[in-house]
Symmetry: D2
Subunit: 142 residues, 4 copies
């Protein structure tokens, strides 16, 4: 179900691209997932919680899902709302709502689950302390 803006903790603006529209004239379902990745990773990098080039651990995606309620289309600007729903020893579930700019209810909702692993051995690792701190800040108040 579509959700209101106050179901999310932080928002990031994402620009659509010409190529996002498919032959039916709306953003293709695949593109939404690139916005999930983009919104979450950009936020983590800005908060100093992710170093994609040198970090000893990396987040592997093990599950993704999206539900679509209303079409979006280039040249709209999208606002992605973020929250953390589950925070484990070495995993995190992000939930993302995508809103047309200024719209009260989400046009799509989805989630993805990251498991943190060693960059080289790809075995589970505890979430790094700074990452955990940032993720705690993305949880919804009880």
């Amino acid at each position: 179900m579509a959700q209101p803006r106050d179901a999310y903790r932080v928002f990031r603006a994402i620009g659509t691209r010409w190529m996002d529209n498919d032959v039916y004239g709306h953003v293709n379902n695949v593109v939404y997932y690139s916005w999930f990745d983009t919104a979450v990773n950009a936020y983590l990098i800005e908060q100093g919680a992710l170093d994609i080039h040198q970090g000893e651990t990396i987040g592997l995606v093990i599950e993704t899902q999206c539900n679509y309620f209303a079409p979006l289309a280039f040249p709209q600007t999208i606002e992605a709302g973020l929250r953390v729903a589950r925070l484990g020893e070495s995993s995190v579930r992000y939930e993302v709502g995508l809103f047309a700019q200024g719209a009260p209810m989400s046009a799509a909702c989805g989630h993805f689950i990251h498991v943190y692993v060693g960059r080289d051995d790809r075995r589970p690792r505890p979430l790094p302390p700074r990452l955990r701190e940032v993720l705690e800040g993305l949880r919804m108040p009880a």
Copy 2:
């Protein structure tokens, strides 16, 4: 969970692309969904069950999901197994397994749900007869 090949009815080969790999050296989670779309739509077009330019109805995606078990990477060739899991009056749930070429178990599994609507009014329509016929052929035997 990863599934064996005999869990799917038909297979299509999909070539990976250089850009599919992300900074961690494996195919990005987003790209898997473009393979779902590609495998299903190409099959439907070849079977005469989809006309993307002139058809009076179009399939709108309302839900997608993917679970990832093992990495895939350019320049591998991928084999996508297809089956139909639910067939309603105006909707269909496709399930797709992605296999590394020749591998017995899937590296990822996912699904997407299409609702068929009028191209112009975007209101639900019964699945066209030829499409329904092809989709019946993608169901697993009981």
Copy 3:
């Protein structure tokens, strides 16, 4: 050669995406072209010079080129500078400079040539009057 900002008439900001980075950690050369399309088409739509759904004419791309001087990478914001270099009866040559946010010199420069054709018959048509007006505004002063 890299060019300064005053070589362009208007600028548009473009957000990078996680998937834009390739395995070497920088934006893949292909992605730059999606920014060209995006910057120009968004500008034309905002100026009322392009209707991608209903317009009787469409712009077909017949040539594209890009030269790359310095790497760009997610999560940078890119600034695309636009100008029109040649304006014919039914064609236009756009030139685009891509700048890292705030940088004085372009990280990449490119162009693409649109020929306007009828949506259905795909035969050359004169540029629509409102489009020509907007394109005149993108020419550099002599």
Copy 4:
């Protein structure tokens, strides 16, 4: 100008994807470049001339170009013809022709120029011997 098949040394098949088509119903101009990268890099990897994960040198793209003669569209299969046009101390110019499957003349032609640099310092390096050998085999006979 469109070119015949015998203007190229080797061919590789590339599958189109649903998302390759844009709102006008043909493959977007940007996608052609992802095919250039894919055809050349897959060929180099198969010939043992490129190790994208461990190689000490990497190929940086400094220029790309494409001319478009006829539309291509999903679900067509594309055949990419490859040749090497210039081979320098640390650079190479690849030329690629894209053909609709079985077509005698190319639907698009392009090139890209790679400069080989150290993976870490990004300074020019001589082409590795095995790479040079493979590239010599892609030159057209005089």
